[in-house]
């Protein structure tokens, strides 16, 4: 057995693990990130890029940190401030207002927009819009660029990343995790962070801890670039997404597909004809861009806890382990979640957020068949065929 290792070993080079690793490395901690593929390759690098989650215990820290991230990391994240919500119906307007009012409760400013104002700000919006919201908070960033920025900044602070390294086992000794076994040998660890996305539950199993997680597949589409709008963070009509600084419209939304991830191999994930429904939603949201060409689509795997809220918790036993899943909403919150994890590892508590709502103990009574009860299960094609579903 080799004696390689680090003070803190992080399983998973997604956005949460990378941010945690960066914060730790900044604090001078010897950190090693183990990633089975390439950093930020899965959902961390392919998502809506939204950074507007003020409802979360991490929300205020998210808002405080994002405008500083380019400078802190030393690499571009393409972070842009503010959001516009476009509503095509009263129900959508109520949703947009609710989002804005949650911000207001946290001390942020917003404005209600009428159709004319929305069209002035977002020229590709059509007459089907009834109004919208302008949030003087929140924003968005480029996920692909940001995950790489975390990885590079982590290295710049002396941290290490091993890609193409799959963790296959955890070695426990004296009530603590002492090492991780991987496809590239064993690495000693004084502390462990598990931030392994859909596979996080498998590691919880290894630790004898029940973490209810349901993986799912989601899809997004991207168009060719169009002229830049003043605020690129425009969403509505059941879509999340943004206009990139290049000008592409990148949007997702709609039905997800519950799946199973039985082992450390990330299952192949593909797109489905849902990309057509996404195209329709996007063209409805932006009639002025209905003629724009879709040039890409992709799918990603995310995981959800039963209440859709993160688990960011330091275990009671083994007591040198932090488990982190952001329950499918990880990118925008990553500056704050990573900082919280680094504090949990170093000090056992988080100085800036109340993490009680994110504790694993809330699932103590969750029955083993919770996925079936909620209908969060992988379906089978023959079931779909039988269901038919007329239009």
């Amino acid at each position: 057995m080799t004696t390689r290792g680090a003070a803190v070993v992080i399983v998973g080079g997604g956005v949460t693990g990378l941010s945690a690793g960066w914060w730790l490395a900044r604090a001078g901690v010897d950190v090693l990130v183990l990633e089975k593929g390439i950093v930020g390759w899965e959902a961390s690098g392919r998502n809506g890029g939204g950074a507007t989650h003020v409802y979360s215990p991490f929300g205020l820290e998210e808002q405080r940190l994002w405008p500083q991230m380019d400078g802190l990391l030393g690499y571009p994240t393409e972070h842009q401030s503010f959001r516009i919500g476009v509503a095509l119906s009263e129900a959508q307007l109520a949703l947009a207002r609710r989002w804005a009012e949650i911000g207001e409760a946290r001390g942020f400013r917003w404005e209600l927009l009428d159709r004319r104002q929305v069209k002035e700000l977002v020229p590709i919006v059509g007459d089907n819009a009834i109004g919208g919201t302008y949030l003087h908070f929140g924003g968005h960033a480029n996920p692909q660029r940001t995950v790489q920025a975390y990885a590079w900044a982590l290295q710049d602070c002396g941290g290490r990343i091993l890609q193409h390294t799959t963790v296959t086992g955890l070695v426990q000794r004296g009530g603590r995790v002492s090492a991780v076994e991987t496809t590239r040998g064993t690495f000693g660890a004084d502390a462990l962070v598990v931030a392994a996305g859909p596979q996080t539950g498998l590691f919880a199993d290894m630790l004898g801890v029940a973490l209810p997680l349901a993986p799912a597949r989601v899809e997004m589409i991207a168009t060719e670039p169009i002229p830049l709008m003043g605020v690129g963070g425009v969403a509505g009509n059941g879509l999340y997404g943004r206009q990139t600084l290049r000008g592409n419209l990148v949007y997702g939304g709609g039905p997800h597909e519950w799946i199973n991830v039985p082992d450390m191999v990330t299952p192949e994930h593909r797109n489905t004809p849902l990309v057509r429904n996404l195209a329709r939603r996007l063209a409805e949201l932006f009639p002025g861009a209905a003629h724009v060409r879709m040039i890409r689509a992709w799918s990603g795997l995310v995981e959800n806890t039963p209440d859709g809220l993160p688990v960011v918790d330091r275990l009671a036993s083994p007591d040198n382990v932090v488990i982190a899943t952001m329950s499918s909403v990880g990118f925008g919150l990553s500056p704050a979640s990573g900082r919280a994890i680094s504090e949990l590892v170093q000090h056992g508590h988080c100085s800036f957020a109340d993490l009680r709502a994110l504790a694993l103990s809330r699932f103590a009574d969750t029955p083993a068949d919770w996925r079936e009860r909620a209908g969060w299960v992988a379906t089978r094609a023959e079931v779909a065929l039988a269901a038919g579903g007329d239009s």
Binding site: V39, W41, V54, Y55, G74, Y75, P76, W99, R145, I161, Q163, P212, R217, T223, E224, G238, Y240, L245, R246, G252, G253, G254, H256, E257, W258, I259, P267, E268, H269, R270, N271, P273, V275, R276, R280, A283, A290, H291, V292, R293, M294, I295, A297, N304, D307, G308, L309, S328, D354, A357, R373, A374, W376, A378, T379, A381, V383, A384, G389, S391
Partner: protein, 546 residues
């Protein structure tokens, strides 16, 4: 009784407009032969081809590099359709054999079930024309999608008039709408000679055939025939630049190279022309094969990434066959359509047999003894690498490798963020391909995300190979060591209002949410009931679902 998550895809599986036992994609020699063979075995067969492609698509160099040298007549769809049919007499035979022939129809996606896609009743293709898109499901698919040009950039290659050999051939033969009078052909292998002959045949002057090597690479007799018709061969030369008024090719400057293929100065020659045709080689069009999950492997002598097929041209996906250039292309197949035809026939028979239209014995009998196919000619990747090296010497590192996103060679190999970010930091300056390689092997998709090379509307058709070659060269590795960059739907860039479905199941519309629809997911953490141990989250979930 398990509950159903109405926000999920459950019960919303896409419904294809039609079901066809066999779809053949591509009406070239292989595709038509496959369709006819299968139809003769009694299989209901649909044969799809995207030509005539509409003018806007052509202007983006999709699916082939047309280099903006289309005559305005390509806007006349009816006329183009007529010409396409005229130029391919086998289409009439297919029609007579009972094949449902669909021209002017894009295949923009192949959707198949898998571990994460279960709500798909059967494999299906996404099809489209200029007005709408639709889905057609199949039991067997034969991909005969052809091949596409390898393009290598040089100073001025963005100008209208830089086109690929197969783009030129399509405009010459199928559309009869090439807008060029004086052509310079780059490359003297079989493809270059074939292209020059084709141009002459259609009354276009060939101003030169340019070759980096010190000799003509292709068949001697064919070269001699061209020379006798007045075609000048300029061997031992590379391209320094294409020049002309804003945006147009009006001449090309050639630079002699020394024994090592390095350009020398002082003896440039400028040749007037209105089109430069890159005839350096072709790579198989494997995007649909990739989308269905067929196993691809790198075979340098057959154009790079090719599907693994058995003796019936069946891929690793039992329902999918591949035939013709997309199953592996080499120069020996040029001017020998019987090779593609034979592959198509085999695929047609194989598909028919696997559908139970005829027994294995009968299929074997019909198949006969296949004539031995000529062995693949040389691996051209070294040749392309040599051309690229010479073009870097002449054009320098500021030539765009990716035209859509305007990424230069330097920006690619230094993995620079795009210029429009106007980013500057010492940390970024310290990063390069070399530092990236310390963390893992070259991955074209990763570098694409960082530099944006290959992320534009042409869907990397113009730069995919040269990005790979440049990265291989810069990383000191060989191109086969670089994983295949992925293809994603839509594999044709189509407008949102073409791709969208005209009607959606009501469940799709009524139950649509932007993200999962978990009631507590976005609730303010300070509201009553959020910071708590009781009731448990599970209880909250079940309560809110009811």
């Amino acid at each position: 009784m398990a509950a159903v998550d109405r926000r999920s895809v459950a019960g919303k599986g896409p419904r294809p407009e039609r079901h066809v036992p066999l779809i053949v994609v591509g009406a070239g020699a292989a595709g038509v032969a496959a369709a006819i063979e299968a139809a003769r075995c009694g299989v209901d067969t649909m044969l799809i081809d995207e030509h005539p492609v509409d003018n806007d698509m052509m202007a983006m160099d999709v699916p082939l590099c047309f280099g903006q040298r289309m005559q305005p007549a390509v806007r006349n769809r009816a006329l183009m359709l007529e010409r396409i049919v005229e130029s391919n007499p086998a289409l009439a035979s297919a029609h007579e054999a009972g094949v449902d022939v669909q021209l002017g129809t894009y295949v923009w996606a192949a959707f198949v079930a898998g571990p994460t896609v279960q709500e798909l009743p059967s494999p299906m293709l996404g099809l489209a024309d200029e007005r709408r898109s639709w889905l057609v499901s199949y039991e067997r698919l034969i991909v005969a999608a052809g091949a596409r040009d390898v393009l290598l950039g040089f100073a001025g290659w963005e100008r209208a008039g830089t086109l690929g050999a197969s783009g030129a051939a399509a405009l010459l033969t199928r559309y009869r709408a090439l807008s060029a009078r004086r052509l310079v052909v780059v490359g003297s292998g079989a493809l270059g000679l074939h292209t020059a002959a084709l141009a002459l045949e259609h009354g276009i002057e060939v101003a030169a055939v340019v070759e980096l090597d010190d000799r003509v690479r292709g068949d001697h007799a064919a070269a001699k025939a061209l020379a006798e018709r007045g075609v000048p061969f300029v061997t031992g030369h590379t391209i320094r630049a294409a020049l002309g008024r804003v945006g147009e090719v009006e001449s090309v400057v050639l630079a002699p190279v020394d024994g090592e293929g390095r350009p020398t100065t002082g003896h440039d020659r400028e040749i007037a022309c209105d089109a430069v045709c890159l005839a350096l080689g072709l790579v198989p069009s494997v995007e649909l094969l990739h989308l269905v999950g067929a196993r691809l492997r790198f075979e340098g002598a057959r154009g790079g990434w090719v599907p693994e097929v058995d003796t019936w041209m069946r891929t690793s996906v039992p329902t999918v066959f591949a035939a013709g250039d997309c199953a592996g292309f080499h120069e020996g197949m040029l001017g020998a359509p019987e090779i593609a035809r034979e592959q198509g026939r085999l695929a047609g028979l194989g598909a028919a047999e696997s559908l139970g239209a005829l027994g294995r014995g009968e299929a074997e009998q019909r198949r006969g003894v296949p004539s031995p196919a000529p062995p693949p000619s040389a691996n051209l990747f070294g040749y392309w690498q040599a051309w690229l090296a010479s073009l870097i010497e002449t054009g320098g590192w500021s030539v765009n490798v990716c035209q859509c996103e305007e990424v230069t060679r330097r920006e690619l190999v230094e993995t620079r963020p795009p210029r429009y970010l106007k980013w500057d930091s010492p940390q970024m300056d310290a990063r390069s391909l070399a530092t990236l390689l310390r963390d893992g092997p070259v991955n074209q998709d990763q570098i694409k995300r960082l530099t944006r090379a290959g992320m534009g509307p042409c869907q990397s058709r113009r730069c995919r190979e040269q990005v790979g070659l440049l990265l291989a060269q810069a990383a000191g590795t060989s191109i086969e060591q670089i994983p295949l960059p992925t293809f994603r739907p839509p594999v044709r860039p189509l407008p949102l209002n073409v791709l969208w479905p005209a009607d959606e199941p009501s469940a799709m519309r009524d139950d649509w949410v932007s993200w999962f629809g978990i009631p507590t997911q976005f609730s303010p953490h300070w509201e009553p009931g959020m910071v708590l141990d009781e009731p448990t989250a599970h209880a909250r979930l079940i309560v809110s679902e009811e």
